[in-house]
Amino acid sequence: MSRRGAPPEVNAGSMADIAFLLLIFFLVTTTIETDAGLDRMLPPMETDGTIIDIRQKNIFTVNINKENLLLVEEQLTDLKDLRALTIAFLDNGGALSGTPEYCSYCKGERNPKSSDNPTKAIVSLKNDRETKYGVYITVQNELVGAYNDLRNRESLRLFKMKYTDMESQYLNSETSMAIKASLKEKLGQIKAMYPLLLSEVETVFN
């Protein structure tokens, strides 16, 4: 049975209004949440109390007091200078050429009074209980930034690609397994050159 004439059309004019209403609701409620931050591994609880001897010159002390002032290697320092100082310390490569600790890729001053090798250089961070968290994060950020700068430099030299870019590609879940495997190897190689040695546990000087 055929109908007489065309069937009446449903008025879709209000569809746009309804969609707009929903759109505005979601626009308002959306907080595009970016859970990003500084990753850090805590040291495991030591029960055996082993004491590791480290040479004084291989330790870079960073101290934040309760007035949120920064003491780097016993010197009052501005936060803005921390990154450059950290890079200078890590990249120093003070060990003499020929010794097993010699650092072939370091571009630092090779000051014998500063760190021997990036794999030996330790950054020791201490803070007061009344230090503000914001300042602590700034310091952490600058220390990680120093490591990232050095790693990026070596990564660009060896693989023509930034370390941080390789890392984000590695962490991306859309990257294929084959690429991930090769990236992991490269990341490991760079990490071995500049391992992140950041200590927040008590260091005893004697």
Partner: protein, 158 residues
Amino acid sequence: MFKKSKQENLPEVSTASLPDIVFMLLFFFMTVTVMKSDVLMVENTLPNASEVKKMQHKDRIIYIHIGKPSEQYRKLRGEESLIQINDKFAYPEEVGDFVLMKLAEMPQSIRAFTTVSLKVDKNANMGLVADVKLELRKVNALKINYTTYEGDAFKNQK
């Protein structure tokens, strides 16, 4: 030729595709929207940092909030920073149990990759954060993330 067509009335712009466009936007926002699951009872202005890493898997994150109590809790709780876990204030000693409980809820396969996200207000004191870190070390939850906003880290000083 051209003159003739100009003299005629301009045809109306068809708005038939408008709903489609709006729906497209709607679906985009619907998919990216994350409804906040827990109500914050503490002030939580995260600090800025530039060297951040994104956290990929939402199901592998345990959140701990630290900050001053919000306005309506000040009278009862005072001005000092507190820890909030699971919609209530907690003492540092409770953090370990909370993390273990959360871990127990997770499937075995992802427990080893779990990260504890510390969402700490930038004006909080490090003392409380240090206490929480110690508790986390006690229960061997060593992977932590100082969750921050992406931005200039030097703004934190103000």
